[in-house]
Structures are given as structure tokens and as C-alpha cells.
Symmetry: C2
Subunit: 311 residues, 2 copies
């Protein structure tokens, strides 16, 4: 059995490389392609599988459609771009609630100004939804590979809410006890973070405009995703703090994934406050170091594992 | 249970319409979008499911990868455009032969000048491969809806080879008798037509340049796919002949699907010969009529059913 990232590297080696250093083919959140008339086109695809990425006993068909769209839009956000158009391919069995699935897809398309312009519907035993999105970026997109030692590491919001929400939904489903110390509203917020995650398009644009040197969306978990930036930028990661969503645990914040907040790096003097003036203020969580092996939080090594598919 | 095309109509009604009559959102082979700097961008997605679109006991993992790419590239060809870039999403179980799958994907990407620039790999019990392709078209793409009564109907090659190839592969697999009257080379050609279909990009461009009024790729079968043109163009279809691939039957040519030849309509005086001067000459198979209900071959009604997924 091979891990997802090892397999991606092996397949990548079989694919031709971009002839143009300004293009990105494979290995980042979205591909970066030239656009007629200037700027860049972004191109990303993401698949959600019922039972793997979303449990239809816990969340709705509409939530599955929403998540398929948002996970791909988040890849465009992670480059500092804006989504433009989507196509949706749905594989599934007769009787699945396609109408409700499309309700969630259309809600996300509307919320993010990314209309669904095409698709495919095919039969399969399992439900597999692939959303593919084009985006645009007026200036150079932010890749994973540009962080430098000394850069500050930021995240665009508190983490772990999606994993905590899933934990609560699972507990509720088996009649588990309500967690203490959380209001009805707190519980609703956490469950919604799992069922209806938010792509941070505005925050990605702000980070790019502020001069971010590297960026990634937190789909696999902070520890794993910062590891991708560290590996591709050849820097170490020294975290001072991790903002944990209210009701989540530190482990959920570090390893939970699917929060779809953005992590980015930027020089110490980058005008973060100015760029985020109308947006939720990002959290400063640490610095990039020159020790390539460093993955530390408060001076202690943190576990780098996150979600990884097996091949 | 609902048919695929009825379901597509129902979902289409839930999606916002394009604000611009020059754009095509949903309902054609590929979406037509504006491109910065002029011309159009095309955007298409297609999914192949192992066991539905390809039987891995009969054809290889590389053939599945090839077919995923070619079926989507064919959607771009059917607009008269040329493919540019692809992203590939693969869902499947650990142990599947991803490397060989990618061999076929890369062969098709190379053959059609459509590099794979991104993708996603996720675990699922079933193998589901979604190829999404962008294309460009320097002039107005050929939609399904422009045919007029009196237009001549053409196909770019003989039909039924893919269905016949599948029949032969199935027969071989159970030790069935070799069909009489076919050479080894004939058999190989038919099986290859099933395992490695060809997208007709050059032919699509030639048809557009010759003034084609409507075009579609033959993925569901000639009868069903001409029905789509007829429905969207409000014309009838009067076929005089159907070119049957050597070794295939008329039923396979009419209903088999997956030949990925193109069917197109063009005015009687369109310069077809000139446009196809360096390409295999297309076959003139009939005319569009003003009798919207007409679906005839040699004066007899033909059955319009083809492959349709059930919902």
C-alpha cells in the first residue's frame, strides 16, 4: 500500500512538465495556465465520495453537493484567485437524490459566483461527485513553494470546527450525551462547519495582495498541509500557537482537516492588517525556519499526519 | 426511475441560465464561455466507471485511462474546438493499477496535445475516472441547435465498430467461436475501436470551417445522438444510408455508441470536400426535414433508443 502523496509524486514523474516556468502543472492546489489577454487561468478538480468525505447518514445530499463545490473553489482560493465556472460530474445509483444534491451545488455556485455550466451524469453503485472549477488571477498566483525562512505563518480562522462537528454528529446519531459547556448555538455552529464549510476566496485574494509567499487550503489538516508548504518551500515550521475553534480540541485543530481555512506565509513586514481590513483578522501562528526538519509547536515536535488516501 | 435526459432537463431547470446568448451553459457537448482576448473557451467533463463504461476483464487499465480522456476530448471536438488542458480525478480502491491507468491517460494527452495539468486521487470501492478538459475555438462553436430543414447530415466515419469490438471481446472471453469472414487484422481493428476509440478533433474543426450548422459526437449511438440534434434544432431526420463498419451490424451502427465519430449537419452547398481534403472523407447519410417527428432510414422509422443512464 502506498500513501497518497507518494503516489502523486510517482504519477507526476510520468507526466510531462510545463514548458513555461510561469505555469504550474500538478503539485499545487490548482494548475496555473496562461490566459489570453493577460493574467492567469486557474484549473482545479476535487472529488467527494459518499461514505469517505461525507456520511449521508449524518449530513444531507445538499451538504454533499455544497462540499463538492466548496472543496474545489477552496483550491482556487488557495492560489489567491477567484472562481469563474464549474462543471460537475456525478456518478451514482438510480434513486439517489440528485435534485437535493444539485440544490447544494447551486447554493454554493450562487454564493461564490461560480455558475455550473456543464456536467455529466453516469450510473455507478457508489456516489462520487467531481467538481472542476476554472478561476482567474490578475497577478501571479501564490504557490506552495515560495516561503522563506523568517516568513510569518498565518491562518485565516480558528481550526478544528469541522472535525469537532463530525464528532458531535456521530455522537448524536448513536444517542451519545450532549457535550457540556456548549450552547445549542455552539453545537449548531460546529455541525455547520462540518456540513457546510466555507471557502476563503476573499481571504486568499487579501493574502496575495499583502504579498503572501506561499499558501495552501487546510483540507488535510494544519500539520499535514503546512508540511506540504515546508517540503515545497524548503523551510522548517515553528508554530507558537494554534487557534482552536470553540468546542474543538487541539488534536482536531492540528489534524482534523476539512476546515478549508487558508494557511499562508508572508514576510514580517507584509501589510496583513491593511489587506484584511474588511475581513476577519487572520491569526499569526508561527514562523518559517531554516531548519528543514523542524515541525514544532511551542518547542515540541508536532505529529505531521493528516488525512491521506491509500493506494 | 427517470431517464438520463429527462433528469438532465429537470436539473437544468434548477440552474441559472447564461446571461449572454453567445455562451452555452448545459445542454451541449461542451460549455461555451467567453475567452479574454477573443474567441471562445470550451469546458467539458465526462466520467467513465469501470464495469459500466469499460470492463476491466476485457480491456486494460490503460484503455480505461485513454477512454476517459478521449470521451471528454470528443466533447470539445463536437463543438469544432481544440483541446487545451485536462485535469483528472480518480476514485478507486487501494491496489488498483493507477500507474497503468495513467499510462493510457498520458498517451491520450500526448496524442491530442492536451496535457494533464492537475488532478485528484481519492479512495472509493469503485473505479470512477473523471476527465475535465478546456478547449479553445477561434470562431463560433457548432452547437446542437442550429440545423435547418434541408441541411445535409454527415458522419465522419463508419459506425458500430466499438459495439462490434465489445461483442467480439465478450465472445472471446467465454471461448466463443471466431466470427467467420473476418481476418485477424479485421478482428484487431474492431477490438481496438472499442478499447482505444479516436476523438475526431481535426474533423470537427473541418466541419466547423465548412459551415456546419449542428454537430454532436456519437457517444450514445447515431439514432439517439441525431435525436438530440433533431430535438434541439427542431428538425426531422431522414436517413438514406448508414455506413456500417466492416464486421459490425446495422443495429450496432445505429445504436451501439462509443464510436466517437461526429455527426454534423450543413447546407447542401457547404464546401465539405474542400474542408476535408486531408482527412477521411465524411459520409453523407441523409437530410434534415421539416417534419419534426420524422426519424426515418430508407423510408422506415428507426428506433431512437441508445445508451441512457437511469435515475
Amino acid at each position: 500500500v502506498t500513501g497518497e502523496f507518494e503516489m502523486i509524486d510517482a504519477l507526476r514523474a510520468r507526466l510531462p512538465r510545463s514548458p513555461d516556468p510561469n505555469q504550474v502543472w500538478i503539485g499545487d492546489d490548482a494548475a496555473v495556465l496562461p490566459q489570453h489577454g493577460g493574467g492567469c487561468m486557474l484549473f482545479a478538480t476535487d472529488t467527494v465520495v459518499a461514505g469517505v468525505h461525507a456520511d449521508l447518514d449524518l449530513t444531507g445530499w445538499d451538504d454533499l453537493g455544497w462540499k463538492a463545490m466548496v472543496s474545489t473553489i477552496s483550491d482556487v482560493a488557495a492560489m489567491g484567485g477567484e472562481p469563474r465556472h464549474a462543471v460537475i460530474a456525478v456518478a451514482g445509483p438510480p434513486g439517489m437524490d440528485l435534485t437535493k444534491l444539485y440544490d447544494g451545488i447551486v447554493e454554493a455556485a450562487t454564493a461564490y459566483g461560480c455558475p455550473v455550466v456543464g456536467g455529466d451524469l453516469v450510473n455507478a453503485a457508489e456516489v462520487v461527485v467531481t467538481a472542476t472549477v476554472t478561476g482567474t488571477c490578475p497577478a501571479a498566483p501564490v504557490q506552495r513553494s515560495g516561503a522563506k525562512a523568517g516568513d510569518v505563518i498565518w491562518v485565516t480562522g480558528p481550526l478544528g470546527a469541522s472535525a469537532a462537528g463530525l464528532r458531535l454528529l456521530r455522537s448524536e446519531a448513536v444517542g451519545g450525551p450532549a457535550p457540556t459547556g456548549l450552547s445549542r448555538e455552539d453545537l449548531r455552529t460546529l455541525k455547520l462547519a462540518h456540513a457546510r464549510p466555507t471557502a476563503r476566496v476573499r481571504a486568499g485574494v487579501a493574502a496575495r495582495q499583502a504579498g503572501a509567499t506561499a499558501m495552501i487550503d487546510l483540507s488535510d489538516g494544519l500539520a499535514a498541509d503546512l508540511g506540504h508548504i515546508a517540503d515545497m518551500s524548503s523551510v522548517g515550521v515553528r508554530l507558537e500557537t494554534v487557534p482552536v475553534a470553540y468546542g474543538a480540541t487541539l488534536a482536531e485543530a492540528l489534524g482534523g482537516g476539512e476546515d478549508y481555512e487558508l494557511a499562508f506565509c508572508a514576510p514580517e513586514d507584509a501589510p496583513i492588517e491593511k489587506a484584511f481590513v474588511e475581513l476577519p483578522r487572520p491569526f499569526r501562528i508561527g514562523v518559517c525556519t531554516g531548519d528543514l526538519a523542524e515541525r514544532s509547536l511551542g518547542g515540541e515536535p508536532f505529529p505531521v499526519s493528516g488525512w491521506e488516501h491509500r493506494w
